[in-house]
Amino acid sequence: MKSSGLFSRAGLVLGLVFLYVPILSMVVFSFNNSRLVTVWDAAHSPTLKWYAELFSNAQILGAAGLSIEIAAISACGAVILGTLAGVSLARLGPFRGRTLLAGMTAAPLVMPEVITGLSLLLLFVALEQAIGWPRGRGMLTITLAHITFSMAYVTVVVQSRLAGFDESLEEAAMDLGARPAKVFFRITLPLIVPALVSGWLLAFTLSWDDLVISQFVAGPGSSTLPMVIFSKVRLGVSPDVNALATIMVLIVSTGITASAVWMRYQNRRRERDRQIAAAANL
């Protein structure tokens, strides 16, 4: 028992080192003066010049703006569709089309991106030929594609949240004469709010991060941030990309820490309420 615990703990520490060394290396070298990304120029470092260069790069800033816009819109779409799918799978019982829905929400989770990207592009081209919509490819087609693959993730999050609650609350409301729509908005929806928040953030991140699918369905003049970064780093390492990475890591770790603190606060409050309720029942 003792030795196996030691072994797995050592593995855990090494694994975490493996996960974080590359990220730390980007953070460190973003302050390096030398253009040679891997040689530390001690005389002139740390410097903020790559940050200055980053913020004067109109192409990167424009692409970042487009990416944020697409990510925000597609996250909202994915949350709506993913919630409907998750609620159907968790609450509607066996209905016709359930297996199909379950299959089509699970498959995008593992589908290789090149296949999803290619198939969506061919769909958009065929649609344009047949009905003239969507005209050309750009922000609209990227957003539609992103909604499609990220709603699968939202579905899983919502479905497993709902599976954690039994249906007694909803059934009680039904017994008291509430209509299904009212039950959904007054009982089910408040229960799954945390899942909606994390689902939205997940969908936002997936969209913000996506390169391959965007590359297929994007048109001229609609380069997202990952597309710009990819064409940049394919030519070699560039220090301003390190600066960009550092900013992203900073935002994400602040956000995750804040949400962890908030969730702990919520849990503690719920625990306290439960204790008070239990005390009142005595």
Partner: protein
């Protein structure tokens, strides 16, 4: 269960996502399949329609040349096999590294556990592309790892690590490790520790107890983690493009090159269909596991 009949509202709730996924997930595959049977054309879109009317009579032209082409040119078969090999090796390495990590997290106290889980998930929220890019700086000939090893005197000449199989394994393991750890953790966390104590009391060594109790019980977690890594890794495009060999491409890169460089949409579609055929069994296994896993919460 409680409500056997499905109301009009329920039909709407299920119908909207079902329609969306049908139109944007199922129909596209049918189109890919269709185009994989058509002929390449110098036009936009660059393929011939399957349904063509020749002077009055309409005929369906099924063109199998794209598929026979994939089997005659050894480039494609080699890329398929290479992708399967890379995905299999990477999945195995992920399991090797991820299992002890998941085990240690599952056995940690609940406060430590939530911090550790956060540390595992956090890289996943930062850009995948940038994390792969970070390895270029580490693995290059004049990169961080070589510089450190040279400084320590372990090596006297820089090792070539970038643009090798090794770099691709590192990239895939690095990017997909959370997908291995999380399902494993979800499984290991549910185990009953008293079974191990009983085994120890009966004189089993820790290794025997692990092999006879923990390992068999964690098989569903292992399967879920391996599928979550293996399936997307077969079609991986970004990692081999940035870190991998230039003389041997993975199939995802071949597909994208056929599409973007050669503008041969029918062959790209045929490559996609063959890749799907390879993955259909693992994808169905994954769906079955997933259904059981979510259903088990009830």
């Amino acid at each position: 269960m409680s409500r056997p009949r499905i109301t009009a509202g329920g039909r709407l709730v299920a119908g909207v996502p079902l329609t969306w996924l049908f139109l944007l997930f199922a129909v596209p595959f049918i189109i890919v399949l269709k185009i994989s049977f058509s002929e390449v054309r110098l036009a936009m879109p660059p393929y011939a329609p399957l349904l063509e009317s020749h002077g009055g009579h309409t005929g369906v032209q099924v063109h199998l040349a794209n598929y026979s082409f994939l089997f005659t040119d050894p480039l494609y078969i080699r890329s398929y096999l290479y992708s399967l090999k890379v995905a299999a090796v990477s999945t195995f390495l992920c399991l090797l590294i991820g299992y002890p990590m998941a085990y240690a997290i599952a056995r940690a106290s609940s406060t430590v556990r939530s911090v550790l889980l956060m540390l595992i998930v956090l890289p996943f929220w930062t850009s995948f592309l940038l994390r792969v890019y970070a390895w270029i700086g580490l693995l290059k000939n004049n990169g961080v790892i070589n510089n450190v090893l040279l400084y320590l005197g372990v090596i006297h000449e820089p090792l070539t690590m970038l643009q090798t199989d090794f770099a691709v394994y590192i990239g895939i393991v690095y990017s997909y490790l959370p997908f291995m750890i999380l399902p494993l953790y979800a499984n290991l966390e549910k185990h009953d520790v008293t079974l191990l104590e009983a085994a120890a009391d009966l004189g089993a060594s820790p290794f025997t107890a692990f092999r006879r109790i923990t390992l068999p019980q964690s098989l569903p977690g292992i399967a879920a983690g391996c599928l979550l890594v293996f399936i997307p890794a077969v079609g991986e495009y970004v990692i081999p493009s940035l870190l991998g060999r230039t003389d041997q491409l993975m199939i995802g890169r071949v597909l994208s090159d056929e599409f973007f460089e050669n503008r041969d949409w029918p062959v790209a579609s045929a490559v996609a269909i063959l890749m799907l055929l390879l993955l259909v069994v693992p994808i169905m296994l994954f769906q079955r596991l997933e259904r059981r896993e979510v259903g088990a919460h009830k």
